[in-house]
Amino acid sequence: MKLKFAQTAASAAILAGIGMAGQAQAADLTLCWAAWDPANALVELSKDFEKESGHNMSFEFVPWPNFADRMLNELNSGGQLCDLLIGDSQWIGGAAENGQYVKLNDFFEQEGISMDDFIPATVAGYSEWPKGTPNYWALPAFGDVVGWTYRKDWFERPELRQEFQEKYGRELAVPKTLDELKDIAEFFQNREIDGKTVYGAAIYTERGSEGITMGVTNALYNYGFEYANPDKPYELEGFVNSAEAAKGLEFYKELYDCCTPPGSSDWYMSEDIDAYKSGQVALQMNFAFIWPGVNADPNVGGDKSGYFANPEGPGGHFAQLGGQGISVVANSANKDAALEYIKWFAQPEVQKRWWQLGGYSALKAVVEDPGFADSQPYAQTFLDSMAIVKDFWAEPAYASLLLAMQDHVHDYVIAGNGTAQEALDKLVEDWTEIFEDEGKL
């Protein structure tokens, strides 16, 4: 009896010990990200991590227009709000150079996480700084790219197909070039469909944060715009403001002038989604993250919508990279638990479930799975788009570079001031001054 009591007491003590040890290790982790659909999917996904690890997850989601302001303020002020941050790809340079993110190379090596297992464009875009070097500051978390959504049901209407064929001498189908895209947008502009006036395309025109830059680059890249001389870094003249780049900017202005809904002078992701879902536009430019939501929408989802990659232009075939990597904030008091989260998140099974919940995994094992392309109506378009991505500057001075571009492009495209060439020339002046201030020129 005594022995039994002793055994019971010992077992209880061990269990209590384990419990207490578990409590001591359990951390309250806060993950910061933008407030959008994928964030909700991540909350769902992270419940599994909480169950497995015993850590508690909290989330701080900030709406996109304020996301950069809020998070960069947090990093710059040395705040401890976020343990994990899914930050924008362009922040990586500043965060790395200012010691705001934890460098992950040793951790990746120790845990057997290889960057070769992820889509190369996402590694270069979300993880590396300096670019092209094996220095990693984030794990690719959410692959994203600008693409197009279109009203498949309108494209299939016989009377519209016939009219389009007569007018343009070709089928009303997914555009292969930017010019074809403009023709389609023009065709739908101010058209009466089901007793309602509809418009051609909802495109990015927002001025305050990054909107119009994320939109216009899809035209600029494909007309021949380059950020700098590929052989001489930071040499901008003749690359940013080449004649081809000016034509690309003119194209975007023409698209805005001819084929967008009235009053769409300050539209970004959410405004484009609203215009599309409310049946105002035939085409919508937006990041791929919206596709699961469009597909599930009762008004425009299912067979009513189709998806296509940014069409090519006379100077190439590219699309603006979006998406983010997940980083550990250097100021975090819970770095070990945060790294534990990244280790868990990198697992193929977790990445697979991430894709199922609506998150765009960047893991090759997921996207190269034979069933991936058919797993969702937009999966193939995602793959096609990720194969042609190009990203904005990720320099520490990216914010200044971005705002200069926002100002000059908006001033030309929306306000109609000056010429495309003048806008790009001014952009070169501003960017040169910024790089001079940075000591890069």
Binding site: N98, E206, R207, G208, S265, D407, H410, I414, A415, G416
Partner: protein, 315 residues
């Protein structure tokens, strides 16, 4: 005899404390009371001002804690004063300031003059008129973007109804020519009641006896208006102009919600521009110089204006 509150407090004060206070001079007691306020002012107003002046001569960037900070002399000031974009924002601010104050004074005074007359429902009308200024500027900016919406906006619908045109044919916040007026309209709608209330206070402070004396002198209503009403309300009007001028010089929230400074940079007021430089481009030294220039401008103009206001009051 009943004791006053002061006497009761004096009696309740412990003898040692009382003698300590009795030992202080009036000047020392005055400093004792004013001291905390001065300390607070120094900490949250004067020190940051001096710090900002210092930063304005450097190339400091708050987002680059590891970078070297160097002294750049007057370079930031030179750059700002020679930057055509900054002068554009100054122009936009001047346009906004002039027209908002003009409309608010004219409409505000007219409304006050009408409300000052006794009529049925006077109180109800006063309450309705002052409602806009009780709303948050962010809310006002947000719902006016809907009112200005070309396809569903009430404003466009009303204009189209009156002119017989199409509501979707114009966009107040997307058009370079209309956007500066779009922000003037909303600010006027929101803040005219404030000017009205100040004018109303002025109108109600005029003794009836002055008008009665003018009546006895057979002064016409027009003459009474110009020789009694306007001069006596003028100090109040000037005060309203001062308040609105200072407020609108630093206007931010309403315009950001409405236009975000666009299209192009046509409605980018100085405060919006300054915020972008300081907290989006993170050019701390440069934006400190910018802030100092704005501070000196507003402080200088306000000082001149207050002197003028005092002269009018003395008259």
């Amino acid at each position: 005899m009943t004791k006053t509150v002061v006497e009761s407090l004096a009696e309740a004060t412990p003898p040692r404390a009382a003698s300590t206070i009795r030992g202080l001079s009036d000047r020392a007691i005055a400093w004792l009371f004013v001291g905390p306020t001065i300390a607070l002012l120094l900490a949250i107003n004067i020190f940051p001002l001096i710090w900002t002046i210092r930063l304005s001569f450097t190339n400091y960037r708050v987002n680059r804690p590891n970078a070297d900070v160097s002294w750049v002399g007057l370079r930031n000031y030179e750059r700002i004063l020679n930057d055509p974009d900054i002068w554009m924002t100054m122009q936009a601010t001047a346009h906004f300031l002039f027209w908002t104050i003009f409309f608010q004074v004219v409409i505000g005074f007219t409304l006050a003059w009408l409300i000052n007359r006794k009529f049925k429902g006077n109180d109800l009308w006063t309450t309705l008129i002052v409602l806009p200024m009780m709303l948050s500027p962010a809310v006002v900016g947000n719902f006016w973007t809907f009112l200005y919406q070309p396809q569903i906006g009430l404003f466009n619908y009303l204009v189209a109804y009156v002119t017989g045109g199409s509501a979707a044919s114009f966009s107040m916040i997307s058009d370079v020519d209309l956007a500066p007026w779009a922000i003037v309209i909303v600010d006027t709608w929101m803040w005219t009641p404030f000017v009205m209330l100040i004018c109303l206070a002025g109108l109600r402070s005029i003794p009836d006896s002055i008008y009665e004396a003018a009546e006895c002198d057979r002064a016409s209503a027009w003459r009474q208006f110009w020789t009694i009403t306007i001069p006596m309300v003028l100090p109040f009007l000037m005060l309203a102009v001062l308040f609105r001028g200072i407020e609108n010089f630093k206007m931010f929230d309403l315009v950001v919600q409405l236009t975000g400074g666009g299209p192009g940079s046509i409605t980018e007021l100085t405060s919006i521009n300054l915020k972008r430089e300081a907290f989006e481009k993170w050019r701390t030294g440069y934006s400190s110089a910018y802030a100092i220039i704005l501070f000196v401008t507003v402080f200088g103009l306000a000082s001149i204006y207050v002197k003028a206001l005092n002269k009018v009051k003395e008259r």
